[in-house]
């Protein structure tokens, strides 16, 4: 089955639920190596996205993603606001005005999202950021998309790789963002942004079916 605007809306609603459920966990992770606001910031942002979607339902997947992007940019704040906002904005641009997303478009949207995050934040894999989760997710999505699978399979592959990537941040020493000020003391903790990326992709994989 295809993935139209309604399915993208459903995926974002699912993401908002997951963010709410994991708000405290993300706060705890960010308190360990940052300033403890990551869960709060994302919760504020995704709640606002849901309110926006309640008020109006854009007609294409791209328009839904763009609405999410502008809402996240204007409500999240912190490092994660512009980074996730840019990710959704680039994804929206990548899918254009296609009425339905297929596997290739979803993989392309994820690639564009990653490029947006890197363009803004200048992080590379191994810096202990969300890039460590998003990069393997994109590669995995592209790999399975080539095999002609459906959107759900692409998102499932992305979510699995993102989780593994997020877990790989635990031993790393942070070199970007607030956590970098801890130096060696940042090792031994999951990066909150990498973990939220993994949670978001997992929720999309569940919600877009």
């Amino acid at each position: 089955m295809g993935c139209g605007a309604d399915e993208v809306v459903a995926a974002l609603r699912a993401a908002a639920v997951v963010v709410a459920e994991h708000r405290e966990e993300l706060v705890r992770l960010d308190r360990a190596i940052g300033d403890g606001d990551h869960g709060e910031n994302l919760h504020r942002g995704f709640s606002a996205v849901v309110s926006k979607l309640d008020g109006s339902a854009p007609a294409t997947p791209g328009a839904v993603l763009k609405l999410a992007a502008t809402t996240l940019i204007s409500t999240v704040g912190g490092a994660a606001g512009p980074l996730y906002g840019t990710a959704f904005l680039r994804a929206a641009t990548a899918v254009g005005d296609a009425p339905e997303l297929d596997a290739a478009l979803v993989a392309g949207a994820l690639r564009a999202a990653l490029e947006g995050v890197v363009a803004r934040g200048k992080a590379v894999v191994g810096d202990k950021t969300m890039v460590d989760a998003l990069t393997p997710a994109v590669t995995a999505a592209e790999d399975v998309a080539e095999g002609g699978v459906d959107v759900a399979a692409v998102l499932a592959a992305a979510a699995g790789a993102a989780e593994e990537g997020a877990r790989s941040t635990e031993p790393l020493v942070a070199r970007k963002g607030r956590a970098s000020y801890l130096g060696e003391r940042s090792a031994g903790h999951l990066d909150p942004g990498a973990w939220s990326t993994s949670l978001l992709l997992r929720s999309f994989a569940g919600g877009a079916r």
Partner: protein, 333 residues
């Protein structure tokens, strides 16, 4: 957690309402999005000087809005940067036709949100420039971190650039002045006890009873090292020496010495520390020509202090002495 609040999620808006009540003659406070604007904005043909950042550092930045300093401040949630739409709103409300200078403290979140705002403003045809202040010498490894943080020097920067803008200096001139000030100001802080972010409910870090953090950041970021508490005669040079050696400030230099409280340290201790610092500077042959003592760049109720030293010249002294009328700094008017 003991705080005079109702609900952690409304702390910033509730405080801004109080600020509006207290300083309605100087400020207009808008809540959605949150921006604090000088009452007579926009001032025609004047460069708008705008800053902002997470709340919890009061009076930074909203307490410095007013004639001779900031045209607008964008308060984010506690310790979280403001969003681009707040900054854009500030630019729109204060642009008097001469463009806007955004003063940003060097934190990833602040830099990214202001950068996004500047792109949005440029897309609307507004002339906007951005400067990033990174005066905290405690961060020694700038290559493997997000770089030096913006701390106490921000107050001095906002005062000096605000004075220049008030005199009619154009956008190029204000930007050039800001970059020159950033090049000649250095700071470092220490903490005796942490503050508590309202929605976190727990202290941002823990210190032993007789332990202090040397080089603390204004969100409780770790500094250079943890050391046992010692008498002020030893603490002051431990804080001041790295600041002086960094630029470096040397014999014959004229400086402004800013002794800043972090929110939970009383003025009596700040004066005590300031006196020692003045003596140490005199011993080095550095002339303190201007000074500022008080809690101006705070970190909620964190106990601690910082020193900021700025190398002066005749022009900067004149800009420092120029009239200023804001909730937190007021002279010459």
């Amino acid at each position: 957690m003991k705080k005079i609040i109702n609900d952690p999620s409304t702390v910033v808006a509730d405080a801004l309402r109080g600020m509006a009540a207290a300083h309605g003659d100087l400020l207009d406070v808008h809540l959605d999005p949150a921006v604090v604007v000088r009452a007579d904005a926009p001032v025609p043909r004047k460069v708008a000087v705008i800053s902002g950042g997470g709340s919890g550092h009061e009076p930074l930045h909203a307490g410095f809005v007013g004639r001779g300093m900031l045209d607008a401040a964008c308060p984010g949630p506690v310790f979280t940067s403001p969003t681009p739409d707040q900054v854009l709103e500030a630019v729109t409300r204060t642009d008097g036709g001469a463009g806007a200078l955004l003063i940003v403290k060097n934190y990833t979140g602040d830099v990214l949100n202001f950068e996004t705002a500047a792109e949005l403003a440029a897309a609307e045809g507004l002339a906007v420039r951005t400067v990033v202040i990174d005066d905290d010498v405690a961060v020694t490894d700038s290559a493997h971190t997000a770089g030096r943080r913006g701390v106490g020097g921000t107050v001095l920067l906002e005062k000096l650039v605000g004075a220049a803008a008030e005199r009619g200096v154009d956008l190029d001139g204000c930007e050039e002045l800001a970059r020159s000030v950033i090049g000649r100001v250095r700071s470092m802080g220490l903490a005796l006890a942490p503050g508590t972010v309202p929605h976190a409910g727990e202290p941002s870090f823990t210190l032993g009873d007789d332990e202090i953090e040397l080089g603390i950041g204004i969100h409780g970021e770790p500094g250079r090292r943890r050391v046992p508490l010692r008498p002020a005669d030893e603490l002051v040079p431990a804080l001041l020496d790295p600041v002086l050696e960094d630029l470096p400030f040397t014999a014959g230099d004229r400086v402004l010495l800013f002794t800043n409280g972090m929110g939970g340290t009383p003025l009596i201790e700040l004066y005590l520390a300031h006196g020692i610092a003045e003596r140490l500077l005199a011993e080095r042959g550095v002339t303190v020509e201007r000074r500022l003592v008080g809690s101006y760049t705070t970190s909620l109720e964190m106990q601690g202090m910082s020193f900021t030293v700025l190398k002066l010249d005749d022009d900067l002294v004149e800009l420092w002495d120029a009239p200023v009328r804001t909730p937190a700094l007021r002279w010459g008017v």
